[in-house]
């Protein structure tokens, strides 16, 4: 039975699952996973340029959990499955349910925020201040501010911001954004023209960063921005920037996520 996803945009895999489960009363187990994937891919195609790698990736992750759960059910000889494994599987399922519930909770809470924003937006606050009349009574806010201090502050402002680190918390899984890596490569590659993959990832702290960088390169390759050369299997992988040095605008457009609208 072919399943068509009718709602135009899903923000993520939870959105999709919630939609499937709550609005259509579909028993996921009666829908073939292939159909869900087809529906999702169709949705992504509709989004077109706004394709979000993150969403797609996360969806695959969840789909794989579902797949595993489902495979277990279909395979014969389940009695032989270790109790421990079975338990782990149930935990996965529980975790998924918990995450879906949490996601839905905040989704509903966000509607309330929206309503309040809407109500409050119909009033404008008075922000006029005491005016000239009381200007002499005001403490001098510029006391102690010198041109040198101002220059110093400006210098601090111009300092490069602290390097963003991959956030590691025990609560959430590590996330490195492929979109960000694409953006970073689109800035750094044009100046370097030809570079070894190993150089690109020499400062990576986690294996995941290397993987993300590789995925980003594949994305750029797919889009025709870079060429990849590898003389021998397991040999050095070289990355060649194909665009001219100024021509990375398109790549940036590619990675800007289409959230604001």
């Amino acid at each position: 039975m072919p399943y068509t996803v009718s709602t135009p945009v899903f923000e993520g895999p939870f959105d999709l699952l919630l939609h499937l489960i709550s609005s259509d009363k579909v028993e996921l187990w009666e829908v073939s996973l292939a159909d869900i994937v087809d529906g999702y891919v169709a949705t992504l195609a509709e989004i077109g340029d706004g394709l979000d790698l993150e969403t797609a990736t996360e969806f695959l992750l969840i789909a794989s959990v579902l797949l595993e759960l489902k495979a277990r059910r279909l395979l014969p000889g389940r009695e032989a499955v270790e109790a421990e494994e079975e338990l782990a599987l149930w935990e996965e399922r529980d975790l998924l349910v918990a995450r879906l519930l949490e996601c839905k909770t905040f989704k509903d809470a966000s509607r309330e925020l929206d309503r309040r924003l809407d109500v409050a937006s119909r009033s404008w606050p008075r922000r006029v201040g005491p005016g000239e009349l009381y200007s002499s009574a005001r403490p001098d806010v510029m006391a102690g501010v010198s041109p040198q201090l101002l220059a110093e502050v400006m210098r601090k402002v111009l300092e490069p911001r602290p390097v963003a680190k991959v956030e590691l918390t025990h609560v959430a899984p590590v996330r490195v954004s492929v979109a960000e890596a694409v953006a970073g490569l689109a800035v750094s590659l044009p100046a370097r023209r030809r570079v070894c993959f190993s150089e690109l990832v020499e400062r990576a702290q986690e294996r995941l960063e290397v993987i993300v960088c590789f995925l980003a390169l594949l994305e750029l390759y797919k889009q025709g921005y870079v060429d990849l050369e590898q003389a021998t299997t397991f040999g050095t992988l070289e990355v060649i920037w194909l665009g001219d040095s100024a021509n990375n605008a398109g790549v940036e457009a590619l990675v800007v996520e289409d959230y604001e609208g």
């Binding site: 277990r72 606050p125 006029v128 201040g129 590691l168 609560v171 959430a172």
Partner: protein, 207 residues
């Protein structure tokens, strides 16, 4: 009208941001609770007289604002267009920050199941959230919270005024349908009720 009430009107009229009851009490040399009573009476009198403005309790203080019904007129006058509406994604991230602050980008992303960097940037650029601390952990992730502007934009006195998150926890029918949908056949050795309890534990501790 008492002199105290008059003084409150005069001060709030020249304030550029909401004036706290504590500060008013200090300036007038009366108790904060008396300030609250007077402000309540003033707000009531404007309502009774059907004025075009109101005195509201917002973002930790009192402030004058135009009455919502007058929006069509004020809109024509105020040149700065209102900011465009927030997308559903940005609103969801905002809800998560509002209820779970201080919270990291990664935590927001984990709850929504999608990367949150872009929406968090949008919210920070709008001034609705700001970095309020750094995680003590190894990554020293930035932790975000809502701002005073957030309170003003939502007409809240404090974040405690948000309806409790428990109000939004999906009802039993949704839970049921989730359970059913994800139920891998009936596993003979495992009690369904047990699984249900695990769910609520997880949900509770993670909310």
């Amino acid at each position: 009208m008492t002199d105290d009430a008059k003084a409150i009107e005069a001060i709030v009229m020249v304030a550029e941001e909401p004036v706290g009851a504590g500060l008013l009490a200090q300036l007038l040399e009366i108790t904060p609770s008396h300030v609250e009573v007077l402000c309540h009476e003033l707000a009531e009198s404007y309502r009774r007289e059907n004025r075009g403005f109101e005195l509201v309790r917002v973002a930790g203080g009192y402030q004058f604002q135009s009455r919502p019904e007058m929006a069509p007129y004020v809109e024509r006058f105020v040149l700065d267009g209102q900011n465009p509406r927030l997308s559903a994604a940005a609103l969801e991230a905002l809800a998560i920050v509002a209820y779970k602050q201080p919270v990291s980008r990664a935590q927001v992303a984990a709850i929504r199941g999608v990367n949150a960097d872009a929406v968090m940037r949008t919210l920070a650029a709008r001034g609705l959230i700001a970095e309020v601390a750094r995680d003590e952990g190894p990554g020293q992730a930035a932790l975000f919270g809502t701002t005073t502007l957030f309170l003003e934009k939502l007409g809240l006195y404090s974040v405690e005024e948000l309806p409790p998150l428990a109000d939004f926890v999906p009802g039993p029918e949704i839970m049921d349908s989730l359970e059913r949908s994800l139920l891998a056949d009936s596993a003979p050795q495992l009690d369904l009720r047990g699984a249900g309890e695990t769910d609520s534990d997880v949900t509770e501790s993670s909310l």
